[in-house]
């Protein structure tokens, strides 16, 4: 088979994997032989027609698979062309792309061809060629396949910057229903193993600098949203638990895109729940960078996100007792909770106010989004000039105006809500 055809099949089979980030590996540019470096913030090299960032060459080693997970394009029962890379072939292709600055590195996953151990061994062979013969020192993200011998995962982790185990679906029941080959236990087992490998390696790197590094860019996971009945609250709680118990760097969500006609799954003409995915990412950001906890954002009575407001605005509007905050006095953690203030502007505020008290002009120049923040802040005890209206007008002003939100919000209400009525609907959702 031609390389071009293989690449097409094995890219097509890998495209539903979400993670394409190349971050967290530290800023490393080894001095010696070889090629490649990592940038801690990650680098995007392109954006595909769906607007997603392309950072890594994301392919499968093979799309042959013994599993028959119902939501997956590569399931055994699916009639689709199959291919496999030779380890040499993949290593060489990666280098050709990397040398031209097309990519930041490789994201390698695999179907389970034969057994998890065999599939992992093939991946290891390709990565050993890359790290060895090609002396590649760029970014590698490798997928750990549930059911693989821990010793093989240990080898994989020494070759990769990041490892991930897909949790696939947000609950044990859904897993049992749709992925009969996988269980919570054989997914969380390797996750815990990788966590321990990372901790151990970090400790030994402190003791002696040249100790081998095990997945220095940490571990991530992903789950499919919208194929099964879990609520946003359940998903967010699970996410929070994964960060706390397994020290994950990232949890990725993937809006389910129907790939199979199946009575257990949404119909083939179902649109992927992109707004829901978007809200989950916003909330995920709040967990990781804004010191929020899952049960501050949602609870048993409000288990789904407000379609009209982002989770932070929604939270703020539900806590009128905390606002307005005096910008020259409020703690960093509280500033972070103000809509329109992000970690960057919160840090800038805290640094700048040590040099003198801040007014509204200063805030604007600092980069605070006043359109949102003005309802929640005071500068030297004063509201911004010309601000009128109460809490309800704040809610109207904070409505998520992104085209994604608008179209999906309208369709949620069966097309009966006119754009100008969204304001009233948003207030009712609070």
């Amino acid at each position: 088979m031609e390389l071009l055809d293989k690449l097409t099949i094995l890219t097509d089979a890998a495209k539903y994997d979400v993670a394409c980030t190349s971050s967290g590996g530290g800023d490393r540019a080894p001095a010696g032989a070889g090629m490649g470096s990592t940038a801690d913030c990650g680098i995007c090299h392109s954006w595909s027609a769906d607007g997603r960032c392309i950072s890594l060459l994301k392919v499968l080693m093979t799309n042959r698979c013994v599993f028959d997970c119902r939501y997956c394009v590569n399931r055994r029962s699916n009639d689709t062309p199959r291919a496999a890379f030779e380890p040499e072939e993949l290593a060489e292709l990666t280098m050709r792309f990397y040398r031209r600055n097309y990519i930041e590195g490789l994201f390698l996953s695999s179907g389970v061809d034969g057994s998890p151990d065999y599939a992992t061994e093939q991946m290891i062979r390709a990565l050993e060629l890359l790290r060895g013969r090609c002396q590649f020192t760029g970014y590698i993200h490798a997928k750990a396949i549930p059911g693989t011998d821990p010793l093989l995962i240990a080898r994989l982790g020494l070759l990769a910057d990041r490892l991930s185990v897909n949790i696939e679906l947000p609950s044990q029941q859904s897993l049992a229903l749709l992925a009969p080959g996988k269980t919570k236990k054989n997914i969380l087992g390797p996750m815990a193993g990788i966590r321990d490998g990372i901790t151990e390696s970090r400790e030994s790197v402190i003791k002696y600098k040249k100790a081998p590094r095990f997945a220095p860019a940490g571990q991530s996971t992903q789950m499919i949203v919208g194929a099964t009945p879990e609520t946003d609250f359940q998903i967010l709680r699970l996410t929070e638990g994964l960060y706390q118990k397994f020290g994950l760097k990232r949890v990725f969500f993937s809006a389910y895109i129907p790939v199979a006609e199946d009575s257990l799954l949404p119909a083939l003409d179902t649109k992927p729940p992109l707004l829901r995915e978007h809200r989950l990412y916003q909330a995920d950001w709040l967990l990781r960078f804004y010191h929020f906890s899952a049960d501050e954002l949602l609870d048993e009575e409000h288990p789904q996100f407000n379609p009209f407001l982002d989770p932070k605005c929604n939270w703020a509007l539900n806590h009128p007792e905390l606002f307005p905050l005096e910008v020259n006095e409020a703690r960093y953690e509280l500033l972070l909770r103000v809509p329109g203030v992000g970690p960057r502007s919160a840090v800038r505020i805290v640094r700048a106010r040590r040099q003198g008290s801040l007014d509204w002009g200063d805030l604007k120049r600092i980069g605070v989004v006043l359109k949102r923040a003005q309802y929640f802040l005071l500068c030297r005890g004063r509201r911004p000039a010309g601000l009128s209206g109460g809490w309800k007008s704040a809610a109207r002003a904070l409505i998520d105006g992104s085209p994604l939100a608008q179209t999906e919000q309208l369709s949620l209400f069966g097309g009966t809500v006119r754009p100008e009525q969204i304001g009233a609907a948003a207030v009712e959702c609070l």
Partner: protein, 269 residues
């Protein structure tokens, strides 16, 4: 911070400076303005010169003076402030010289804390120009494309800011054992890395030989990957364009149509 602190100093404004366009020259203009208690109405290079009603004065580039300004900034204010002025010089910001002057003046009024005063008008306008230049450099770390031309890697870019010096450490570290050239079409400069040595050169024009079969095939594979990785059901051209503005497209391999013959690099817009 909203109002300016410090004693009011009368600064003469009815003068304009001309300089040679170099970083040293810009620092000398700052020196001149301090020495003569002036805040010129414009500081421009020979090319960008505008008709002025005021006295025009040529400011000579003298390394001693430039060093005094730069070292003074580094020692009295901090390396962060010196770096800010250096990058401001590389930015495309109109009137960057005056912005630099206002920033340096503010810096010597306030002292070490100045870079933290992100809300101060003088600091904010210097910082935001610098942030834009750094953001463009970061974009190019991803969006720059090399072609293999007889074993040497060649890339062309069309940046608004003079990003080459901001890209050097990244690319020289990454491709440490390669020979490569990055050509800035707008500012007509090239970054050259050869035998583990870095140099910058003014280059008027770059013509390249046709690409080889291996280069051609790699581009084809990359375009195919690019096309295949997109998910149809999620198509979102607006989101793509926000992240990857159109001005980058004509130098991106994946945004070019399939090559029928064997041209060199993608043509100039």
């Amino acid at each position: 911070m909203g109002e300016h602190s410090g004693e009011a100093v009368y600064l003469r404004e009815n003068v304009t400076y001309l300089y040679d366009g170099s970083f040293e020259g810009m620092l000398c203009c700052i020196f001149e303005a301090f020495a003569r208690r002036e805040r010129p109405s414009a500081i421009s290079t020979g090319e960008a010169r505008q008709i002025s009603l005021f006295e025009e004065r040529w400011v000579e580039s003298l390394p001693i003076r430039a060093n005094r300004v730069f070292n003074g900034l580094t020692q009295k204010i901090g390396p962060g402030a010196a770096r800010l002025v250096r990058i401001l010089y590389l930015s495309e910001q109109p009137e960057k010289e005056l912005i630099a002057l206002d920033f340096v003046r503010r810096a010597f009024q306030v002292g070490r804390g100045v870079t933290a005063m992100r809300g101060d008008p003088a600091v904010a306008s210097a910082s935001s120009s610098v942030e834009r230049a750094l953001a463009e450099a970061h974009q190019y770390k991803g969006l720059l494309r090399f072609s293999d031309v007889g074993g040497v890697l060649v890339a062309e870019i069309e940046p608004k800011n003079r990003v080459l010096p901001l890209l050097a450490a990244h690319f020289c570290g990454r491709y440490r054992n390669e020979a490569f050239l990055i050509y800035d079409r707008v500012h007509k400069e090239a970054l050259i890395w050869q035998d583990r040595t870095l140099r910058f050169e003014a280059v008027d024009n770059l013509t390249l030989p046709p690409v080889t079969g291996e280069e051609q095939e790699t581009r084809r594979l990359w375009r195919q990957f690019y096309k295949t990785i997109a998910i149809k059901a999620r198509e979102n051209p607006r989101c793509r364009q926000t992240n990857m503005p159109k001005r980058y497209w004509n130098l991106l391999t994946e945004m070019q149509p399939e090559e029928t013959e064997m041209p060199g690099l993608p043509a100039v817009r």
